[in-house]
């Protein structure tokens, strides 16, 4: 009891609601598998453990091409872990282990001998907290391309990427300034520019707005909407309104399990699972 009182408010609500929602009441699920031509990433019975704790449990999920897929769920439900598996960023967590399969364009990225370095050029990532390099704005954008042996003109690439990230007009006169002179929202758009400078096929976004104010958030959301024309976007968010606003498909995770995935309008209007309904109506989380 004392523990519950000491913990953060949202966690307490989850803890108190636990008896209500723990029963895995799985009703009839719709068939969610996409035709293989439409999916870029497919997780198949994917389980990710930290030590013995399974953060993601037997998740099977398709990520459609040129759509925004949102992964929602309460804190600790495994949505970030799942996202970070998609470009193998979990490799840097020493205790993490993976079972099951995770396909990128039909290739299992967790098969022995697979090199994640090339994968990460093709699957970009934007993090929760803006994390530009403590270098110039231009260098932030060009560095990734340079180390990946980009053959074109780096200055053009910087301009193009900053345009795409809707940041060019704000920074075009100070490309040599340190990236940390920018505001938080600008830094996050710089991080997006840095990721798309590599012309990735997929953009993974891990709660990209959680450190930003509402105006900066709105700009990033607009940007995400534009980006899906060229990229496949996977967006982890615990902001349900954001998922509803920007995503085409929504996956709801709870305690490591994928409870439901469907078109966003369906998830938010006619979810088939009780837990999904409880979550989106704010009964927990």
């Amino acid at each position: 009891m004392v523990k519950v009182l000491e913990s953060e408010a949202p966690a307490r609500r989850v803890a108190l609601d636990l008896p209500l929602v723990r029963i895995p009441d799985r009703g009839p699920q719709r068939e969610h598998a996409l035709p293989s031509s439409e999916r870029v990433i497919r997780a198949e019975q994917l389980t990710i453990r930290y030590g013995t704790f399974a953060a993601v449990r037997e998740v099977t999920l398709d990520i459609p091409s040129h759509r925004v897929t949102a992964i929602i769920g309460p804190s600790g439900c495994g949505k970030s872990t799942l996202l970070r598996a998609m470009n193998r960023m979990n490799d840097f967590v020493p205790s993490a282990s993976v079972a099951g399969k995770l396909f990128f364009r039909g290739e299992d990225i967790y098969r022995p001998g697979f090199d994640p370095v090339e994968l990460r050029r093709r699957i970009g990532m934007v993090f929760q907290k803006p994390n530009p390099f403590p270098k110039s704005i231009a260098k932030n954008v060009s560095w990734g391309a340079a180390i990946n042996g980009y053959q074109g003109n780096l200055d053009d690439l910087v301009e193009r990427a900053l345009h795409q990230a809707a940041l060019w007009d704000e920074v075009k006169d100070k490309l040599d300034d340190n990236a940390y002179t920018l505001s938080g929202g600008q830094q996050q758009r710089l991080c997006i520019a840095r990721a798309i400078a590599l012309q990735p096929e997929v953009l993974l976004m891990d709660e990209p707005c959680s450190a930003l104010d509402p105006i900066a958030t709105a700009r990033i959301e607009d940007l995400i909407d534009q980006l899906k024309a060229q990229y496949t976007v996977v967006l982890v968010t615990h902001n349900m309104q954001q998922a509803a606003r920007v995503s085409d498909r929504t996956a709801f995770m709870y305690m490591g399990e994928l409870i439901e995935v469907d078109d966003t309008t369906v998830i938010f209007t006619k979810p088939t699972q009780k837990k999904t309904q409880d979550y989106i109506t704010g009964r927990f989380g």
């Binding site: 840097f92 994968l119 994390n131 180390i147």
Partner: protein, 298 residues
């Protein structure tokens, strides 16, 4: 509302005055104790300056030591010996120490073996310098047959400061936020590219500070050099790493031991020169650290 306030305030006995007084007493105690240390330092430096300042001259810096004529004695060989030692120590300890830190922090798996290594490096930093002298005598002087050369001395000092350099470098690397590494990896950078372009540059000021402090520790060491038999009265400047040598702390020690009181003044003058090298080094370290903190961006 008023009633509630009255009831709850009667449950407290703030004794604000008393709490303030005990706080003030503790503050005073801390101040006195720190002044005590400072006063001691002031007395020491004052005494040294009083004894030695008038003995410092160009001649003192450019003459070789003399056993007979204190007025002609100088520290030329000791000064050059110290410069040689510092060069050898820095050139060996910095690459090895930084490489060890980079390996342990960026590459090595976190397992029992690396934990043991960390633990031992920390312990090695506390090993008395004379122990390194004995080790150096056995390994460098006798086994490697480097004799009592300035190379032997420099390598011993290298061993002595290696743990310090490694620990300082590790801490500097540890202070580079994980998010910078993640940013680089997520762009398809290899581990080496990440370390080379982002981690090391960000950690460099911290590493530099560690190196300067380590070298300034080595510069004052006499014990391990005396163990290997570094000679006191050297009337030549080392021209190569295998030459015999003396160093400032050894020269100072020898003069302190001499019977004629004039030599004690020479020792004081030598201490002033040693401090004259040390203080700017430490000042640079402090400046580097301060500028790093000012520029801290994350």
């Amino acid at each position: 509302m008023t009633g509630a306030t009255a009831v709850s305030s009667s449950l407290f006995m703030p004794r604000v005055q008393r709490r303030r007084r005990s706080g003030r007493a503790f503050e005073l105690l801390c101040m006195l104790l720190s002044l005590f240390g400072l006063a001691f330092l002031a007395v020491l430096i004052g005494r040294v300056l009083w004894e030695g300042a008038s003995w410092i001259s160009v001649k003192f810096l450019t003459n070789f030591p003399s056993q007979m004529f204190p007025e002609n004695a100088g520290i030329k060989s000791a000064l050059w010996g110290t410069i040689w030692l510092m060069a050898i120590t820095t050139l060996t300890a910095v690459p090895i120490g930084v490489a060890a830190a980079v390996y342990l922090e960026e590459y090595a798996p976190r397992n029992r073996l690396t934990k043991l290594i960390h633990f031992n490096i920390t312990n090695l930093a506390g090993v008395p310098s004379i122990v390194y002298g004995i080790l150096g005598l056995a390994v460098f002087v006798r086994w490697f047959r480097l004799d009592r050369s300035v190379l032997s001395g420099g390598l011993i000092l290298c061993l002595l400061v290696l743990p310090v350099v490694t620990i300082a470098s590790r801490e500097a690397l540890l202070a580079v936020p994980k998010s910078i590494r993640e940013a680089a990896y997520a762009l398809g950078a290899t581990r080496w590219q990440t370390v080379r372009w982002h981690v090391l540059p960000a950690a460099l000021p911290g590493i530099m500070t560690g190196i300067i402090l380590a070298v300034s520790r080595a510069i004052g060491e006499a014990a391990p050099l005396i163990i290997i038999g570094a000679v006191t009265y050297v009337a030549f400047v080392p021209t190569g790493p295998l030459d015999y040598f003396t160093a400032l702390p050894i020269q100072i020690y020898a003069w302190t031991d001499a019977s004629q009181p004039e030599f004690h003044h020479l020792a004081a003058a030598g201490i002033i020169v040693l401090l004259g090298i040390l203080l700017p080094m430490n000042a640079v370290a402090v400046a580097v650290r301060a500028s790093q903190q000012r520029k801290k961006l994350w």
